[in-house]
Structure formats: structure tokens, C-alpha cells
């Protein structure tokens, strides 16, 4: 009996592995380049593929690689640092010309960065945490500046409120780095306006349903709310549903971040969402930097991607009905 239980468990574990896939490197393209000149090969270690933002990273990287005539190898770390390291090691073993890494694993990933350095392969860190330890080698760090995004949102709100009013803040998951950085930019900036009062600050856990529930409670507690700042679009969309149900949409403005497609549609077609700060998800710049590095060009240690403020006045410029995010 015990034996059959063990057997069953082993079977289930194997099944889980098969279902979730084993994070093997997948060629996004067959190796081409029959014309004497060697084609540049770039490796891209993506941290996890369970979020539209991450999927859009990969899609745009593939498109940029195809447009620029280089080969791209994408690996999926499935949110597991040891898998990410194994993936980067396999990219090094394949002698790629540059490696783009997007990791959420903090310092657990550093050994892999050192290995890439020893193999003299340029390392581009993108949409990811940057090593705070300056002994960790990398070529460049390319991402939006989350702190700046927070500042921009605060300035926009102060401007639209005429420097006074009641503000509700919906934060992401409290332990999230992005949430902390966005707060770090937003809070000092908004505190410059003493007449803007923060009446509630709660976590909506980055998700629509918790944000809707928390916002419902906040609406109960506060009969005077002028603006809601949600740290991402998902939470803003949840908050909007709660505000509409309470019949107070005409009195409350909603401002958010990320500029996902659904949010841009809301800005374009309704007055429910007022503004979202763009969090660049395209990896075009990262791929270009990887090619430059592979060609031995000198590149900057920090490349900041634009994070424009998108509202009704300029939404058409950014709205792409075909985008995946």
C-alpha cells in the first residue's frame, strides 16, 4: 500500500514536470545565415512567462530580432532562480554573442552574471532588478525608471486637482520591488502639496478583484474622494467597477500605471480612466543594445526608457489594437 502511494506521487510529480515544461531552451528560429558572414546570435533569459507584460517582452524581442536580422534564442525561467541560472549557462555554452536577462530573483542570479562575464559575453539586464553590488559585472541596464514614473503620476494628479483634494492610493503587493519604487517616487512628490490629503492607502495586490473589494470599503469610509491613484492598470480597472457601482464615477478621477491595452481603451473611449504612465514593455531597445554590444560598440551603463504620461490628449499615439499587452 505504501509502495503504491509512493508510485502515485512519483507519477504525479513527473506529470507536473511534463505539464509545466522543463524550461528547455527553445529556438525561436532555426539557425540561418548561409551567407559567409556569421549571423549574430542573442540569448534572452526571460524570468517567467505567466504575465502579459512578460509575454509582450518576448514577442517584441522576437520581432526586433527578425527586423534587424539577428538570431534570438529565448529561455523561460518559470520564476525559479536555479532554472534561470541553468538557462543562462546553456546560453553561454552555446557561445551566443550577447545575453539579455530579465530576472526577478534578486541576488540569487548574480553567479550567472559572473559566469557570463568570465565567458566575455556582453550582458544586458532589462526590465529587471539591477545589481546593487558594484562587484557584479554587467554591460548595461535598460528599463523604465519606476521612481520617475511615481513622480510623474504625483505631478499629474497635483496639476489636475489644482493642488488640493482627497486622494486614495491603491498599492501593489507590499513586498513587490515595483510597488516600493513607485511609492518612493510618488510619496515625496505628492507631499509637496499640503492641501492634497491622502484619505486612504491600501493594497489591491496588483489584481482587479482585491482592488474592487478594497475600493468598495474605502468608498464606504470616505464620502469625499477626488482622485484614486492605482499603481497598476489592473487595480485601476477594479477600482473603476467599484466606483461605478457606488454611483460616484462622475466625482472621482482615476489615474494609474503600465498602459496596458485595456487601460488605453478606457482612456480613449470613456471618461472613467484619466491617465496611465507608460511602463515600456517593448524589448526593441534591449535587442538593439545587445547587437551593439556584440559588435563591440561602447554603450552606456544605464539606459532609461521613456515613460510618457498618456491621457486623452495623446492616447491615439500609443494605442495599438494589435498589441499583446
Amino acid at each position: 500500500m505504501k509502495k503504491s502511494a509512493v508510485k502515485m506521487l512519483v507519477f504525479l510529480m513527473m506529470f507536473t514536470l511534463v505539464v509545466t515544461g522543463c524550461g528547455e531552451a527553445k529556438d525561436s528560429k532555426a539557425s540561418g545565415g548561409s551567407d559567409g558572414k556569421k549571423k549574430i546570435v542573442i540569448g534572452f533569459s526571460q524570468t517567467v512567462m505567466n504575465h502579459p507584460f512578460r509575454i509582450a517582452n518576448v514577442d517584441t524581442a522576437k520581432k526586433a530580432a527578425a527586423d534587424l536580422g539577428v538570431e534570438l534564442i529565448v529561455t523561460d525561467g518559470q520564476g525559479d532562480a536555479s532554472k534561470e541560472i541553468a538557462n543562462i549557462e546553456s546560453l553561454i555554452a552555446r557561445k551566443v554573442d550577447a545575453i539579455i536577462v530579465s530576472s526577478l530573483s534578486g541576488n540569487a542570479i548574480y553567479p550567472a552574471y559572473k559566469e557570463a562575464d568570465r565567458a566575455k559575453i556582453p550582458l544586458i539586464i532589462a526590465a529587471s532588478g539591477v545589481p546593487e553590488d558594484d562587484k557584479i559585472p554587467y554591460t548595461t541596464f535598460v528599463a523604465s525608471d519606476e521612481v520617475l514614473m511615481g513622480q510623474q503620476a504625483a505631478k499629474y494628479i497635483a496639476d489636475k486637482l489644482g493642488n488640493k483634494g482627497n486622494l486614495v492610493i491603491l498599492n501593489g503587493v507590499v513586498e513587490s520591488t515595483n510597488s516600493q519604487l513607485r511609492t518612493k517616487g510618488f510619496m515625496p512628490e505628492i507631499k509637496k502639496y499640503p492641501d492634497i490629503k491622502i484619505v486612504a492607502e491600501q493594497s489591491g495586490e496588483w489584481l482587479r478583484l482585491p482592488a474592487m473589494q478594497v475600493m468598495t470599503n474605502i468608498l464606504q469610509a470616505n464620502s469625499n474622494i477626488d482622485v484614486v491613484f492605482a499603481q497598476n492598470d489592473e487595480m485601476a480597472l477594479g477600482a473603476i467597477e467599484a466606483i461605478k457601482k457606488a454611483g460616484r464615477m462622475d466625482k472621482i478621477k482615476v489615474v494609474s500605471m503600465d498602459s496596458q491595452k485595456e487601460a488605453l481603451e478606457k482612456i480613449k473611449n470613456t471618461n472613467e480612466l484619466m491617465m496611465t504612465v507608460k511602463n515600456e514593455w517593448s524589448f526593441e531597445t534591449a535587442v538593439k543594445l545587445a547587437i551593439d554590444a556584440a559588435n563591440g560598440k561602447e554603450i552606456q551603463k544605464r539606459v532609461i526608457l521613456d515613460s510618457p504620461v498618456i491621457d486623452k490628449s495623446n492616447v491615439d499615439k500609443y494605442y495599438d489594437p494589435k498589441s499583446t499587452f
Binding site: M1, S4, A5, M8, L9, L12, M13, F15, T16, V19, T20, M49, N50, H51, P52, R54, I55, N171, V174, V199, A200, E201, Q202, S203, L207, R208, L209, M212, Q213, V214, T216, N217, I218, Q220, A221, G238, E241, K245, E262, T324
Partner: protein, 312 residues
């Protein structure tokens, strides 16, 4: 002893309600209490199933993953109409529940392990199915009404909470099946000797838990208007906490559906008060943790002192 298990949670809830009323004048209002109740619907469905599971001495960790799968599938099959979606969702819950039940009875895998495995598998299946992203189908107005409609000013989800607990109560206390569930938790061997088909009852309990979780997933999709594959994370832990605080013993056999209803309300009231008072998001999980510890401690202490008093 049975009385204690019932009255301690109830007393806690009453105290919390009084505290809430003093702390915020917005607490004891009709609309606030209705919101509190209607946002408990998903947890209510899962907690009723979890109560039955825990009463048999088991545990079901897979409910959160069932929620997610049912949520995305119902978003992706809007063309089937309300009845079609309902059948599909019930099927998902029943099949996964049956897998749980069969694995842990026929193959004698611990419930914790069997449902831990299905939890991982069906979360992965969900992400695989959606490619990780949300499903932004065109949710039909009829489907949206399920969670957003109201009857006589009462939001439908609030009605579901009451209905599912009443059904749970009747099933547990007024059917042979319910008596068998309690008997199995009290002692499997004895139950078997009395001619109860232990395996069959257990499989059914997990099927019920799966079906209720799947309905919760469908409700979430109706509420937020899309299929979110990240739905239901940690719902199993919330449900287990609700059941324990409601006075049900994790070892099985002892506990009530009514207790779980009170447990659910305790957590809902606490979250509501913390939101109303704008308590820091960092502190909120600490408060929830303390409630679980205090409830467990109070119940075990009082039971012990009663037991020793009985001996003396």
C-alpha cells in the same frame, strides 16, 4: 464542549461588530454590511466545501487552482450561454474533485499530498491554457448579472452566501450523507464496521468541494468581466482559516457549518474594519494571523480545562 465550539466564534463576532461600530460610524450601515457579505461569496462557496472535507479529517489544497481554471474557462466559453457555461464549470469542479478523491482513497495518498499535486497541476494547466495572460472575451450581460445583479436591493452574491450555507447545513445535519461525513471524521474504522462506504463518501466530499470552488471561479469572472488566471491564489489558506476559526477541528469529526459561516463573517468584518480605518497593508496579515492563533488557543485551552475538570 460542542456548545463552546459554537459560542466562542459567535461571541468573537459580536465583540468585533461592537468594536467596529465604535471605531467607525460607517461600519454599521446597510450598504456596508451588504458589501461585506457580497464580497464574501467566493470564500463562502469554498468554505462550505472545505468544512465537509476537514470534517472527514482531510484537506483540499486544490480549490484555488480550480477557481482559476473555472474562471478562465467560463470567460472563454461565453458563446455557450449561461446554461452551457454552468455545465462546463460544474464538470471541471467535479472531475478535479473526483481525481482528488480517487487518488487519496484508492491509492491511499495523504489528502495533503494528493491535493498539493492537483493544486500545482491545475494552476499550470490554467496558465498554459491562457498562455499566462487574462482572457478578455466579451462577457455577456446575462453572465455579468450573476455577480453584479440584485434582487429587491440585495446584491445576488450576498444571497448566494446565505443559500450555500443553508444547503450545506441541511446536507450535513439532515441527510444520511452528512451523518456519514461526521462519522468518518470521528473514526474511519468504526464507520467501516457500521457499513459506511468510507471511500465513496470521501470521493463525494472532494467532488462537492471541487464543484463549489469551480462555481466561485465562475463568479469571479462574472464580477470582474474577464478570465484572470491568477485568480484564487491562497484561497485554500483563507478557507482553511475560516473553517478553523469557525471552531472545526483539523483532525476531523467535530465542527459545524454554522461555525464556518461565523468564521467567514469574522474575517470579512476584520478586513472591512481595517479598510475603513485605513490600517496599513503591512499590518493586516498580522491581524489575520493573530485571529487564527487566538481562536485555536482559546478552543484548545478551554477544552483542556473542561477535560481536566471532568476527571477531577
Amino acid at each position: 464542549m460542542k456548545k463552546l465550539r459554537t459560542y466562542l466564534p459567535l461571541a468573537t463576532l459580536v465583540v468585533l461588530m461592537i468594536v467596529g461600530t465604535f471605531l467607525s460610524d460607517k461600519f454599521l450601515t446597510y450598504s456596508n454590511l451588504m458589501n461585506l457579505l457580497q464580497f464574501s461569496a467566493e470564500s463562502a462557496l469554498i468554505a462550505v466545501g472545505m468544512t465537509l472535507v476537514i470534517l472527514t479529517g482531510g484537506i483540499d489544497l486544490s480549490v484555488g487552482s480550480i477557481v482559476a481554471l473555472a474562471a478562465v474557462v467560463s470567460a472563454n466559453s461565453q458563446q455557450l450561454g449561461l446554461a452551457g457555461i454552468l455545465v462546463l464549470v460544474l464538470l471541471i469542479g467535479a472531475v478535479i474533485g473526483a481525481i482528488n478523491g480517487i487518488v487519496l482513497t484508492k491509492f491511499r495518498v495523504e489528502p495533503f499530498m494528493a491535493t498539493l499535486a492537483t493544486m500545482a497541476i491545475f494552476r499550470a494547466v490554467t496558465l498554459w491554457y491562457t498562455n499566462g495572460g487574462p482572457i478578455l472575451g466579451n462577457i455577456t450581460p446575462a453572465f455579468s448579472y450573476l455577480a453584479n445583479g440584485s434582487v429587491l436591493g440585495i446584491p445576488l452574491p450576498a444571497i448566494y452566501v446565505v443559500v450555500v450555507f443553508i444547503i450545506g447545513y441541511v446536507v450535513l445535519n439532515h441527510t444520511p450523507f452528512g451523518r456519514h461525513v461526521l462519522a468518518i471524521g470521528g473514526g474511519e474504522e468504526t464507520s467501516r464496521l457500521f457499513g459506511i462506504n468510507v471511500k465513496r463518501v470521501k470521493i463525494w466530499v472532494y467532488i462537492i468541494s471541487g464543484v463549489l470552488a469551480a462555481l466561485a471561479g465562475m463568479l469571479i469572472t462574472s464580477r470582474i468581466g474577464m478570465g484572470e488566471p491568477r485568480s484564487g491564489y491562497q484561497f485554500e489558506l483563507v478557507a482553511i482559516a475560516v473553517v478553523i476559526v469557525g471552531g472545526t477541528s483539523l483532525t476531523g469529526g467535530r465542527g459545524t457549518i454554522g461555525g464556518s459561516f461565523i468564521g467567514l463573517l469574522i474575517f470579512a468584518v476584520v478586513m472591512n474594519i481595517m479598510n475603513l480605518l485605513n490600517i496599513s497593508s503591512f499590518v493586516q496579515p498580522i491581524v489575520r494571523g493573530l485571529i487564527i492563533i487566538l481562536a485555536a488557543l482559546a478552543i484548545s485551552r478551554m477544552l483542556k480545562s473542561k477535560a481536566s475538570a471532568g476527571i477531577a
